[in-house]
Symmetry: C2
Subunit: 438 residues, 2 copies
């Protein structure tokens, strides 16, 4: 009985996913065009943000009028989740707009959760934005060590320690300032502190801006597997200041692009085609290209999450390449490979397996490899990942149900995928052997 229920489940999930793509993207530009510049003036992404930052700090000591009354928000993407709906603000210089942030703070006390790399870059600026013309609010911060290897229970406890020592109460707000690691940990801390407090995401990596800050998945790793402990917990808003990408290392930028490519592959062929034509603009950090990629990624993610918040089916498709990828992250030790790097290799493996199953054309498989190579992302797992290592780690993947490993695989024309446990085990085996030593 349990067995038939589980295959029913897999079948249901599979059919609902197959039905979702390709979709007509909202306001996507024609495949070949570079998107028209958004209405705000983007400062050069290469320019140092230090000067503006500095001047704002003076302003916070002796409060003055906002220099610009005009909002810099170029785009708002809404995540539609009933009474848990929230806006994603996307634009250059949004951290220079205190109103935007302050609007979503509850209570008088804020805890900013950040890390040793991001704090020196943006903590003062965020503190300014939270407190400017707002004497009622006081800001505490906790600065965690930087790295995926610290996305664990011990580090999470430091957030609780700080919150409790500071005597924060239920009417406080946690702010995640950093990449996906900080966002995932701060979000889980906000979910669990006093059984849930208000929470704002300020993602500062491309990865976090296009993916992890949106949709409410929060959590930490266990030594035996990625993100195994956590909560679904939605933020009050997501504030994406694209200027923060100025300071991001190239390797981290590429890591985020792996998730951008994912959206095209699972549900948005025109977006994928746009990426094929604009990858060099993205790597060169052209502001309008980055802004468009972030906006379109958030729209795709918001649409999926609005339909399936708790991942009963459709949402799992956002994990294309992630079962293989998580195994790489776990198997190589957290932090050795960046999340997006592992996902890139995992996506190539998923495309390879889909092709072996006869579910996609060779041309699609090749375009997957090409675009990820162009983004300077790895397209094979590291040598240390043996077939056995993959198998044993994948057995604890969150997408296993009643012992059956379900995978997101490409199927049909570009932009279509399925989430299913109904595939020939041989294809999985062949893919593992094609990419790994024994």
């Amino acid at each position: 009985m349990a067995a038939s229920a589980s295959s029913l489940l897999a079948a249901a999930a599979s059919s609902s996913c197959a039905a979702i793509s390709p979709r007509l993207p909202r306001g996507a530009p024609a495949a070949a065009s570079v998107p028209s510049p958004s209405r705000h003036t983007c400062p050069s992404l290469r320019a140092s943000p230090a000067r503006r930052h500095q001047s704002r700090f003076v302003a916070s000591v002796a409060p003055t009028m906002q220099p610009s009354a005009e909002s810099r928000v170029s785009t708002v993407v809404d995540v539609d989740l009933g009474d848990r709906s929230y806006p994603i603000y996307i634009g250059a210089g949004l951290l220079d707009e205190p109103d935007l942030l302050q609007r979503h703070v509850h209570g008088k006390r804020v805890l900013v959760v950040t890390n040793t790399t991001v704090a020196p870059l943006y903590l003062e600026k965020v503190t300014w934005a939270l407190t400017h013309n707002n004497p009622n609010v006081s800001v505490e911060s906790v600065i965690l060590p930087d790295g995926e290897q610290y996305k664990d229970m011990d580090t999470l406890m430091k957030v609780f320690d700080k919150a409790i020592e500071s005597r924060l109460d239920r009417r406080c707000t946690f702010v995640a300032l950093g990449g996906g690691v900080i966002g995932d940990m701060c979000g889980f801390a906000a979910a669990a502190f006093l059984r849930g407090v208000n929470f704002i995401q300020i993602p500062t990596t491309l990865m976090a801006q296009v993916d992890s800050s949106v949709g409410g998945k929060t959590g930490i790793n266990h030594p035996l597997g990625k993100n195994l402990i956590g909560a679904f917990y939605q933020p009050q808003c997501v504030l994406i200041d694209t200027d923060t990408l100025n300071t991001l290392p190239d390797r981290e930028l590429a890591s985020g692009i792996a998730e951008v490519v994912k959206y095209g592959l699972i549900r948005d062929a025109p977006f994928f085609e746009w990426q094929e034509k604009n990858m060099s603009a993205l790597l060169a950090r052209e502001p309008s290209a980055l802004a468009y990629a972030i906006k379109r990624s958030c729209e795709n993610k918001a649409e999926v999450v609005a339909q399936d918040e708790k991942e009963s089916g459709l949402r799992a498709t956002l994990n294309l390449g992630h079962t293989f990828g998580h195994a790489i992250e776990t198997g190589t030790g957290y932090g050795a490979w960046l999340h997006g790097e592992a996902i890139a290799a995992g996506t190539v493996m998923a495309a390879d397996m889909s092709h072996r199953l006869g579910w996609i054309d060779e041309s699609i498989r090749k375009r997957v490899v090409d675009i990820l190579e162009q983004a300077k992302l790895p397209i094979t797992p590291p040598e240390t990942m043996t077939v056995e290592k993959f198998k044993s780690i994948m057995a604890v993947d969150k997408k296993v149900a009643d012992g059956l490993l379900r995978l997101i695989l490409l199927k049909g024309p570009l932009g279509s995928c399925v989430f299913t446990g109904e595939y020939d085990r041989k294809a999985l085996d062949e893919t593992l052997h094609a990419f790994c030593n024994n």
Copy 2:
């Protein structure tokens, strides 16, 4: 602005609470009567459960028919929470009814979370109930150290370790077998494991049967305060086998009675009056008296939780005596005082303060002291609790909002209370000084 919002909030909460009591209890017996025996035949609570347990185990090795086809469930109380609604089954011998439990298991894998005291008493029996005539299901268990002092992150991690090492997946079920400590920890583990798995409560203390297993509050302690980390997470069902109380020490029984008294005081005067007349029957563990007290307590709690699941106001009234009580538990070191013992002293303090404020008659204050004394519960905090210790611990209570400590206080006729931050600070001070050394 924040200040006025907070006092508005306190006022709203206060008025909604004042409005709720006294209520007409559903099917309460006349104050003086002993409740009529429920329709199943209760085996003597003093009889050892070992023989039946034993015979069932033989049955599990060589499966036979159920000896009794007639259900032993004497009462079902429904917790009405929309799509998170669930039943509370109450009756003697319910663990001898595999169907009841199996109906609420999801998937093929079960993890029973219990402790070193309860495992030797009931783990085999529960394993039998889960697997009898049900070869598809396999049961793992994790046996935690016993005690409030282990309701912490390190012990919680043992549950995750076991779940992950056993390769449990999303379609598994966690079963809490034990008192409130096990229930709170197992519930939080179920909420966070893979961001949420199915969960069943089998409470085995009176405290857990009348209070902690119902309503979905889960969590762990922090060295600086009780239950500060957790989640609202509802079980699939609560299965109360009143036979498990046979093995409970007297001191633990009395601890549970503190919460039974609470329901009477905050919202159910006829129930309080029934308790005044039946306290010796409860202490003598008369089956029908215990069954009635458990049923009426669950009904009261279910009604409150259905109206205010996430504690925006009304639900806070269930914490009568708990702000003082939690301070005692934290201040004396977890485990030194039982939860109900601390709550008993805290309830007397709350009644004292209510009386100083002129909100209740002296006769009510005295009845509170008398009934708790009759239950052999402490009516004053331990000597080590100074005024300063109380104040500093109460400052991190979950009911502080924007710096204002809100309390549940008795107000009006028997069975009426308020949850409010609007009280004369002098009364709080006087109560602390009346009960504590400086």
